[in-house]
Amino acid sequence: MNLFDSVFIAKASFIGVIFLITLGVAAYSTYFERKIAAFMQDRIGPDRAGPFGILQPLADAVKMFMKEDFIPANSNKWLFIMGPCLSMLTALMTSAVVPFGDTITIGDVTFDLQGIDVNIGILWVFGIVSLGVYGILIGGWASNNKYSLLGAIRAASQNISYELAMGLSIIAILMMTGSLSTKAIVEAQQNGHWNILYQPMGFIIFLICAFAECNRTPFDLPECETELIGGYHTEYSSMKLGFYLFAEYINMFISGAVMATLYFGGYDYPGIDFVTAQLGATAATLIGAGALIGKALAFVFIFMWVRWTLPRFRYDQLMGLGWSGLIPLAMFNVVVTGLGVLLDQQILIGIGGVVVFIAGIVVYDQLFVKKKLA
């Protein structure tokens, strides 16, 4: 009973820490989003609140709480409140299966740095991410506003379309690892056998789909200001709007963590054996957790970098890319990976697959695409 208690307490405090890290990262993502945008436009960005403006998220939070919390008269009141809550809930639930580190021993208690190690880990992520659409859809529907509804419909159709390609790109990983558990996937990548080496094409597909799933530029059609005012959150104000925006940043961080887990070795880092020998297993695990968070933050930076570089897709381009671009590509990737597993030459076949694909496109272009004569 004592052991159960201490493991329970350890897990609970770990979950609390992850919760705080996620919220902190999400809060400071808003600050870094503005800073990165400013730097990329040769500006300075927020620098008035505290040194370098690091208190800006606090000021923003106070502003959000102080604003009038308005519920439109003809909206469905309960659904209107439920929308942002659901968005926030699903965004926070995804991190439960991300393995933040190997086992850690404090006193006589040994536990994993992971919320829950379920054997359907990746399916959990997918299920929760799919549920996340409901937050947007319910919010857009309950607002009783054409623009909100259009934004919500776009969000739903976009997420459903891109989930297919995302799932197919993950199937390739499952074929290599043979397990749905995120922990097993990470353990298969230890000592530098990162999946990015085996699955370059799958990673590109997953990355593009992650952009679409997070509703980030260039796939931020659900909230495109020019056509849909604010999209699904047109009618939202105060902290309900804050929840929607916050959920987006949490999703970014979590999808960065998932990408690091699936393709960049999770908590693996170069020199892990050396650190274990020198400083002990606990220190190595904690550095590993730091490495995973660092990788996730690097992905968050890439999300922001892309946002301040690329314009938005048109809706038919978005759908065209998803259905006739990424899904066939992902299927091709599955076939190539299957070949690699069959012949036990995974790196070779993985890279060969990319080469064959590019060569195929060039040949197709030369043979079948009509060119205007100069």
Partner: protein, 172 residues
């Protein structure tokens, strides 16, 4: 008939494979933004940092005194006439005996007011002045006002202080 032979017929052909895949263009665009990410910002943090606006910038008005500390203005009213915004008004007064140290001419401005909401900082008052009494200084701007009472600047704010004399580069 062509006016010049510089017209060039531009025809956009089919996009090449690389252009249709967009990825090379995306990578190029991201390189551009990353280059700007590490370049120096052009922002000037205004209230803390000010930049030199040049020797002929038209800023805060000043009513000059001469070397002996006597006001140069003789209240002729030419600046008020020249002012296109009708921002200047003044009340003239005759110089009494014993005030020669204070006022250079026999007539002086008892009241001299500029409405800073009306002023357009064109500098015509400076050009019109025959006594070289009013100038728009290049190194100081009119500060932001918070209420309408602060808008009309009297002699207390306009007359030059002898311990902080305003000198332009050309006068030295």
């Amino acid at each position: 008939m062509k006016l010049s032979n510089r017209t060039k017929v531009v025809e956009q052909g089919e996009m090449t494979l690389a252009e249709r895949m967009y990825l090379p263009a995306i990578v190029g665009g991201m390189a551009t933004t990353l280059k700007h990410f590490f370049s120096k910002p052009v922002t000037i943090r205004y209230p803390e940092q000010t930049r030199y606006l040049g020797p002929i910038y038209r800023g805060h008005h000043i009513l000059k005194k001469d070397e002996q500390g006597a006001e140069r203005c003789t209240a002729c009213g030419l600046c008020a006439v020249a002012c296109p915004a009708e921002a200047i008004s003044m009340v003239a007064e005759e110089r009494k005996k014993g005030e020669e140290k204070l006022y250079r001419e026999e007539k002086y401005a008892k009241v001299y007011e500029i409405n800073m909401l009306r002023c357009i900082f064109c500098g015509l008052c400076e050009e019109a002045c025959p006594k070289e009494a009013i100038f728009l200084r290049h190194d100081q701007m009119v500060p932001v006002f918070n209420s309408r009472d602060e808008v009309i600047y009297g002699k207390d704010k306009l007359v030059e202080k002898m311990d902080q004399r305003y000198l332009r580069e050309g006068w030295k």
